[in-house]
Point group: none
Amino acid sequence: MSRTVDRSPIELGGPRRADGIRNREKVIAAAEQVFVEQGIEAGIPEIAARAGVGKGTVYRNFESKDDLVAAILVLRLGKMEEDLIVALDQPDPGRAMRDVLKAAAVRSSAIGFPPGIVLSGQHAELEAVKNRLKERMKTLFAEAQKAGEVRPDATVDELFVLFGGVCRALAESGDTSPKAWSRHTDLVVDAFRP
Amino acid sequence: MSRTVDRSPIELGGPRRADGIRNREKVIAAAEQVFVEQGIEAGIPEIAARAGVGKGTVYRNFESKDDLVAAILVLRLGKMEEDLIVALDQPDPGRAMRDVLKAAAVRSSAIGFPPGIVLSGQHAELEAVKNRLKERMKTLFAEAQKAGEVRPDATVDELFVLFGGVCRALAESGDTSPKAWSRHTDLVVDAFRP
Amino acid sequence: MSRTVDRSPIELGGPRRADGIRNREKVIAAAEQVFVEQGIEAGIPEIAARAGVGKGTVYRNFESKDDLVAAILVLRLGKMEEDLIVALDQPDPGRAMRDVLKAAAVRSSAIGFPPGIVLSGQHAELEAVKNRLKERMKTLFAEAQKAGEVRPDATVDELFVLFGGVCRALAESGDTSPKAWSRHTDLVVDAFRP
Amino acid sequence: MSRTVDRSPIELGGPRRADGIRNREKVIAAAEQVFVEQGIEAGIPEIAARAGVGKGTVYRNFESKDDLVAAILVLRLGKMEEDLIVALDQPDPGRAMRDVLKAAAVRSSAIGFPPGIVLSGQHAELEAVKNRLKERMKTLFAEAQKAGEVRPDATVDELFVLFGGVCRALAESGDTSPKAWSRHTDLVVDAFRP
DNA sequence: TATGAATGAGAATTCATTCAT
DNA sequence: CATGAATGAATTCTCATTCAT
């Protein structure tokens, strides 16, 4: 209570948190790496070691392994959503769609996690982003179709299958060159040419 | 290994072996099902139960779980290789290639296993089929390019990434309708149109 | 199928099971010891080691730790129930009740486990024995009261608290002499004298 | 330990210490609550939260969890000792003994902690109170026997077993009504009637 | 040869305790 | 001094693999 009197305001919450935030980020970064390399079945010990922290720290930041996976997905899908929002205002929907996918691809294995695992638990937030994302992509896709830039017989779901699959395959191949990711995204988009 | 030494000649007959072969096939069939349903992380107990045999029998036929996975892949890739041999004699290489891929896709998650696991162990046989397969597909792909049915800037490796990724994505989506697999293969092939 | 032809009937199921049953009993015996010595918080590894088996064997026989605890309780309460059935036919209900309690006490920490833990999970069987036991003890208690051998202001529940508590206290004291357990049971019963 | 060395004289004053004492008491109060509710296996985080302090504060005041438990016991047994000192001057030793026990019981789970845990570490202070307490109770018990109010064949140790066991059983039953604790103490004391 | 019991390494998760802020 | 983030040992439980029957 009166103990805080002699503390400068700066000490009240800043420095402590800095470490925490850094660790959370380190864990997420490590987890992304490890998951891409070994798949979801990778162990927390491995992730913790890669992040240079103890197992406990992982669990302080993420309630469970599922939670960690969900957090990563939310982050990535969130970025993709932002891109989509911008893309929906662009004049050329076909090009915009391609750009969004490329950005997501380069950001790496985008939606490449086995959805089953993640969906099993009730991750409200994750579900929300997923739905918003799908809705937005649907709109963009429809616009591109209307503009004659995407074949009329295709669906967004098919796009997701192709794109998701390619991301996963690339992630596992170990090829991390943005060029390769970009190139394969081009191929995917070309599959949907009229 | 040396276990066969103490077998009496009488035991070496036909019927005994027939059972053995039947069991091997039952296990492979069960494993394919279970792997598609649950992914590679499915347990041996589940597979054994589904095959109607004991766990021990699985291990009599396959040295390890990796071995079982490899055996399945060898089998599948082997069939694909046979298709390829036939395809290479066909007049229309573009159409032949598409047919080979469709057949493989419909045979289900074809090469949809995480290669990492399989490659970790040195499965000579698997490597061999893979290489032969790649070589043959390369030839067919080149012919199709020469015939103007495949874009000249593409490579077989890219085809493998697209096709492999899509198979995996579909396998995980739980969609087992041949129609869907066929449709997505079409999309993949279209991506390589000139 | 035809493989069993050359096996003698004796080999078909007898010896295998013998081991299994023995192990189950070894685990229960070890668990009783360890739980009495260290309380419920004792670890499965400790129990397995004491039983001379691996952890896995414990889990083959009991779905979970709670299950193991429940099994022990069911066993003990089951014996007590048998005693009670006999006791209810005896001419002197007061003496019969005392004998039942003594037998249970000597069999050691009888109902001395924290009921909370056990009750939390839904162990149908355990609940059933408990209820039957309580019902029977209630009857015997009432008869003893009618016969003027137990004070009319007391209830069975109070008896359970005293008896259960004493068992637990003795178990923890490490005193394993039947004499001590018998003596303390006498004291408990005397508390319910008119 | 040597941490006090660098304290400036100014910091040594009264108010600071008052806070310290208040925290110690808050922790003890919280711990008593939590231990009664959840048993010894309750976690320090829970206790700290209930006390409204950080975990670190708990450890500043008590070297370890065992230490905290011991401190609580010392406190309680200390109160019981005070009661005993008064009781030894009373004219009716039987009644005095009953009153002391009742007071201790109502103060709740008195000596209801698993003694094993506490005794494992060498808590000199706890041992001391225990011994003094036992000695005093022994005297009172002997007087009550001499006065013909307690059966001559019983011992104080037996009284401790009954009383301790009942306290534990009641604590675990979750019954916190002083009436129940009082009633059961009566039963215990009645067990020692001549 | 088939079976499934046994084994034990390893995974997820919790929590007492330490220590930087 | 207080705080809570970090640590890692320990716990429960799973599963690939071995081996007695």
